[in-house]
């Protein structure tokens, strides 16, 4: 689109559930391109296929047909194991229900993805430091040793975001990240995501709340498994963020 490297490219992506008469086309040929540094919202009514799309983009599901090219790598036909590698190395996840492990402290939850790294493994002592830094960047230094049930919903979601950032993912995927939060916490979380985006992260978020989607710079609307619209979302802060992304993108 504008010279930034493509992070996501899908070609006639299809997902079919069931067979015969009860066959459902959850995705019916989706073509999208998302470049590095973009902050994209995927919207659509329930049953539109947006969750299916996110699952495929998240490498947790495989398309029935079509191609998904993640950062130049066609992952459509990858095995479960290969997809797990991709998830650990390239992706960071933020869930609606946080999915923190209840028996681990905030710090340990943040460190969790580093355990499954196969390359560039960091020594255990350094992991703590790195995790503390990331926790600091989401403003939770003083909550590092709290258990999830000692944190508010907004704080738990920050821990989850820190966990998503720990492996320096190429792409952050958020599934209704504010779905369980009150309005104030929702806006805090969106501000945090926006800050991340401003520092050059690529973020794809599924939401059904228009004011949450408003934080993004582009809104993809899915309806009946097809792309219904793909619009720029004119927000002023984007220009600055974009130029920084481009510089970082080229440095890589």
């Amino acid at each position: 689109m504008d010279g930034s490297p493509l992070i996501i490219e899908t070609l006639a992506l299809k997902k079919v559930y069931g067979s015969g008469d009860s066959q459902v086309n959850a995705l019916d040929g989706i073509d999208i391109k998302i470049s590095a540094g973009e902050f994209v919202a995927i919207m659509g009514p329930s049953g539109s296929g947006k969750s299916t799309l996110l699952n495929i983009l998240a490498c947790m599901d495989r398309p029935t047909d079509g191609q998904y090219i993640l950062a130049g790598e066609d992952v459509s036909g990858y095995s479960r194991k290969e997809l797990a590698f991709i998830r650990g190395r390239q992706l960071g996840f933020v869930f609606q229900s946080y999915n923190l492990l209840p028996r681990l402290t905030a710090l340990d939850n943040v460190m969790l993805p580093m355990m499954y790294q196969r390359e560039n493994r960091v020594h255990a002592d350094q992991r703590r430091e790195i995790a503390m830094e990331v926790l600091a960047s989401v403003g939770l230094t003083d909550r590092a040793h709290h258990l999830p049930n000692q944190l508010s919903g907004g704080q738990q979601q920050r821990v989850a975001i820190a966990r998503a950032l720990i492996n320096h993912p190429l792409l952050i995927l958020a599934d209704e990240p504010t779905g369980n939060l009150d309005t104030r916490s929702s806006h805090e979380i969106m501000d945090l995501l926006h800050t991340l985006h401003a520092s050059g992260r690529t973020i794809v978020m599924v939401t059904h709340e228009p004011d949450i989607a408003h934080y993004t710079e582009r809104i993809i609307l899915i309806r009946d498994g097809r792309l219904a619209s793909d619009q720029k979302n004119g927000r002023p802060a984007l220009a600055g963020a974009r130029s920084r992304v481009e510089m970082e993108g080229r440095a890589e």
Partner: protein
């Protein structure tokens, strides 16, 4: 994940459910403890038997009389069967391959010396061959001679325990002791031998059998019993064939007693028979324990599988999350296997402690001896590990095959 992290994660998960983990391990603990106790009992029995073999003397044949006649209301019954003193002489003279023959006729007596009175002491009436046949040593003094035997000389040889109880540090040789109403002169003391298959050689006194016949057989029996003896003990020459000697003795005694070989009035047992009897009494017990051990190991394994399956269901979301952040199916499988293995090995270690403790306890509370074998510890630890992997496999497989999307939506 490296091994250290893996173990840490597994450990945390077990510790967070202490009671459940402990109860899960119980089956393995019992199984492993049973394996160790079982082997300790077997080893103890074997040790006892091999000591008995050495203690009995070598190549012994024990001949005892059996009850053959006497009906109801016919007065004192002939408990001693048909063995008489002359049978011993006959065996000595007319059987080949015999190294020594002795008899053993016991009576219960009261001994007095000075202020010391010992009641219910066994006096063993025997022959000069006794030390050779029964493999006992004379420590001080001497055993009695054939001449003393023939002349019914009132001499006595003391077991080491009796000697100490009567005389303490003093020298018993040449002293006279009162045995019931008879005065016997002490001519020797045996070396300590201890308890061998139920007989404490140290707590008996030994006199010529002629003295026992004359002095220590109750008079009402003596008329009936004459020179009957309880037991004849034959020591077979080490170059002779044991079965042949037994055969010769059987025929000889059957002829002398005028009974048929099919219904003899005596029974012959060799050392091998005695060992066999001892072994068979413990072997049924061992079989039982082996079953208990095996069954509880399997039950323990099923318990582990059960709890691991519950754990997989409970932690479905955790599994989904771990998969989302990069855990492969293999990682998940290894994690749950490692938890199952940790449960079973921990159970194994506790079981080993319980088994070792139990073996000591068992050894001290019952008359069975227990010997802890190092290999039993290795064996039980290995079987615990095997149980963990075997019964942990299905739950781990189930966890690994969870679809991350479904797992993350699990409530």
């Amino acid at each position: 994940m490296n091994i250290g992290e893996l173990l840490k994660v597994s450990w945390k998960s077990l510790v967070s459910n202490k009671l459940r983990s402990l109860l899960t391990m119980l089956g393995v603990i019992i199984g492993v403890a049973a394996v160790i106790v079982m082997i300790a009992v077997s080893a103890g029995t074997e040790a006892t038997i091999s000591e008995a073999i050495n203690g009995l003397g070598t190549n012994l044949v024990f001949i005892s009389g059996t009850v053959t006649r006497g009906g109801p209301g016919q007065g004192p019954q002939n408990q001693q069967g048909g063995l008489v003193y002359d049978d011993m002489t006959a065996i000595r003279e007319r059987t080949s391959g015999v190294a020594g023959v002795t008899v053993d006729q016991q009576s219960s007596v009261t001994i007095k010396y000075g202020d010391v009175t010992l009641e219910d002491v066994s006096v063993v009436g025997t022959t000069p061959d006794y030390p050779t046949v029964r493999d006992v040593q004379v420590e001080t003094g001497r055993f009695f001679t054939d001449k003393e035997q023939e002349r019914t000389t009132k001499v006595v040889v003391l077991g080491s325990g009796i000697a100490e109880e009567l005389f303490g540090e003093a020298d018993p040789i040449g002293q006279s002791i009162n045995v019931n109403t008879t005065k016997l002169t002490v001519i020797g003391v045996l070396a300590p031998k201890g308890l061998v298959s139920g007989t404490d050689f140290d707590e008996q006194i030994y006199t010529p059998i002629s003295v026992v016949f004359k002095k220590f057989t109750p008079s009402m029996f003596s008329r009936i019993m004459g020179d009957r003896v309880r037991q004849i003990i034959v020591s077979v020459d080490e170059n002779a064939n044991m079965d042949e000697v037994v055969q010769q003795i059987s025929i000889l005694l059957a002829n002398r007693h005028e009974v048929s070989l099919d219904s003899p009035d005596f029974s012959i047992r060799t050392q091998a028979d005695i060992i066999e009897t001892q072994e068979s009494t413990t072997s049924s017990f061992r079989t039982l324990l082996a079953w208990v051990a095996g069954v509880s190991l399997v039950v323990g394994g099923i318990g582990i599988m059960n709890i691991m399956l519950v754990s997989v269901t409970e932690r479905t979301r955790e599994i989904g999350l771990r998969q989302a952040i990069g855990a492969t199916p293999g990682d998940i499988q290894v994690q749950f296997l490692s938890e199952a293995l940790m449960l079973s090995l921990l159970g194994g270690v506790l079981g080993i402690l319980a088994g070792v403790g139990g073996s000591y306890l068992f050894g001290s509370l019952s008359d069975m001896r227990t010997v802890i074998e190092p290999f039993s510890i290795a064996l039980s630890f290995t079987s615990a590990a095997f149980i963990g992997i075997f019964f942990g496999y299905i739950p781990a497989q189930k966890a690994a095959q969870l679809d991350p999307i479904v797992a993350l939506r699990h409530e």
